[in-house]
Amino acid sequence: MEIFGVPLQAMLGQLLLGLVNGSFYAMLSLGLAVIFGLLNIINFSHGALYMMGAYGAYIGLTTFEMNYWVALVVAPLVVGAFGMVIERAMLQWLYKLDHLYGLLLTFGLTLMLEGLFRSFFGVSGQPYPVPDALRGATDVGFMVLPNYRAWVVLASLIVCFATWFVIERTKLGAYLRAATENPKLVQAFGINVPLMVMLTFGFGVALAAFAGVLAAPIIQVNPLMGSNLIIVVFAVVVIGGMGSIMGAILTGLGLGLIEGLTKVFYPEASSTVVFVIMIIVLLVRPAGLFGKEK
């Protein structure tokens, strides 16, 4: 069977790849959006923290014989704690300043972290094995589905929608939304907003690290893996708009799919299609597809 001259198998394969990429875009842009909302910080180091998550899994395996499933919990916790230290030590002094200062600080941080990992591990990638339970592929009738990639999409969807649910439907989320609008008033009601800010940054960072662990078996773990991804993720955030949690998730997944489709029909454009869309969105809707116009 063919669609526009492309075999269905190839098309579905690329769509799945796109969905996998989109899962990473969604998890990372979600964290960026939550952090930007509450902290007013454009966290450029998000990619480096994603990379640290992957290295957390790699170091855990090679040094402590920590298996994948344990790493999936431990690495985000460790990297998230590291993020909270960064927030208390550095970022908290920048909230009242222009976005640019936060961007510059986290950019510098990115260079330092990547440099550090490069000097320890070199620039070539380290392989990380797919966990035994997720090896192989399943024939689902219309295509052969690699188990690990299916797991990545599933795990990402669960994490993204759980985050959406907590923020939009729970009391804790109400505190978060309110503090995003007017932190001083929320604090005047008796809520420890500085603590909440620290935990939120820790959570956003942990989400990046979780994505890093998920990515480890798919791509070679290397110090620059975050830099390669973060530029696209920023484009995703611009397209989706900073204001909306669901917007960040849907835009991430959608753009991954569009990238996948572009690979099928016009491979030459596959690495630029996201940026073309970004330019169009910026011209037509500067606040982003889901953003609120000011």
Partner: protein, 237 residues
């Protein structure tokens, strides 16, 4: 003998470089309704904000229920039993009416319990009707009701209300006056900042007049008629 719930002594406060409060002294006793009068810019709103630590640097003494609050951070001050209704109302756009109502955590540390949600809905039926609406879609009057209502269920015993009658229709202002009387009857202690003298005059037990970041006069409601000339001079009412 009346018991001081709030005692402010020699309070100074700054916003950045500007020195706004220049040694404010006043006392509010348990169960009283006290109104801060004064012209715009006299420092009344800043006084409320300084009590909660929402200004820049501040010095002096603020005793709430006998606890010194000058060095506490804002959220800890709230837990001394304060409820704050800001001048701009502070209704959250990303929260529904009911989420706004349920947002402030319980702060009544000393066993005081606030009103229940159903009591609040009995008092403000409009809020019940519109519980699922986005907070900022409510009318101005409803938003004001919501801004006051949400600090009534926290167990706060000391309410700081900033210009609650501002910009509202007379019928709503009357409803707010009834509400203040009812709150007073329930034993709440209230500090009001009011521009609307005719709203505040019949409600307050005592008045303080502020000018240039200081309290320049304090008197009880019984002395009100005798003080009208002085008030004319200070407020132009």
């Amino acid at each position: 003998m009346a018991e001081a719930l709030l005692q402010v002594t020699n309070l100074h406060a700054h916003y950045g470089e500007s020195h706004i409060l220049h040694g404010v002294d006043f006392t509010v006793n348990k169960g009283e309704v006290v109104t801060l009068l004064g012209r715009n810019g006299a420092g009344r709103t800043t006084t409320l904000r300084a009590i909660l630590g929402l200004t820049g640097s501040r010095s002096g003494s603020i005793k709430i229920n006998g606890v010194e609050a000058i060095a506490l951070s804002t959220h800890k001050i709230a837990h001394l039993g304060l409820g704050y209704c800001p001048e701009e109302r502070g209704i959250f756009a990303s929260l529904s009416c009911e989420e706004n109502l349920l947002l402030p955590p319980v702060v009544g540390g000393n066993g005081t319990t606030g009103m229940s949600v159903s009591q609040i809905y009995d008092m403000f039926p409009n809020l019940k009707e519109r519980r699922d609406s986005q907070g900022t879609r409510l009318s101005g009057g409803e938003q004001q009701m919501l801004a006051v209502a949400r600090i009534l269920r926290t167990g706060a015993s000391l309410l700081l209300l900033d210009e609650i009658s501002e910009g509202l229709a007379p019928v709503i202002v009357q409803a707010l006056a009834r509400m203040i009387r009812m709150l007073k009857a329930k034993g709440y202690t209230i500090v009001m900042v009011e521009q609307n003298f005719r709203f505040a005059a019949p409600l307050a037990d005592r008045f303080y007049v502020m000018e240039h970041g200081k309290i320049v006069e304090g008197f009880a409601s019984a002395e009100l008629t005798a003080k009208m000339d002085m008030l004319h001079e200070y407020l132009g009412v």
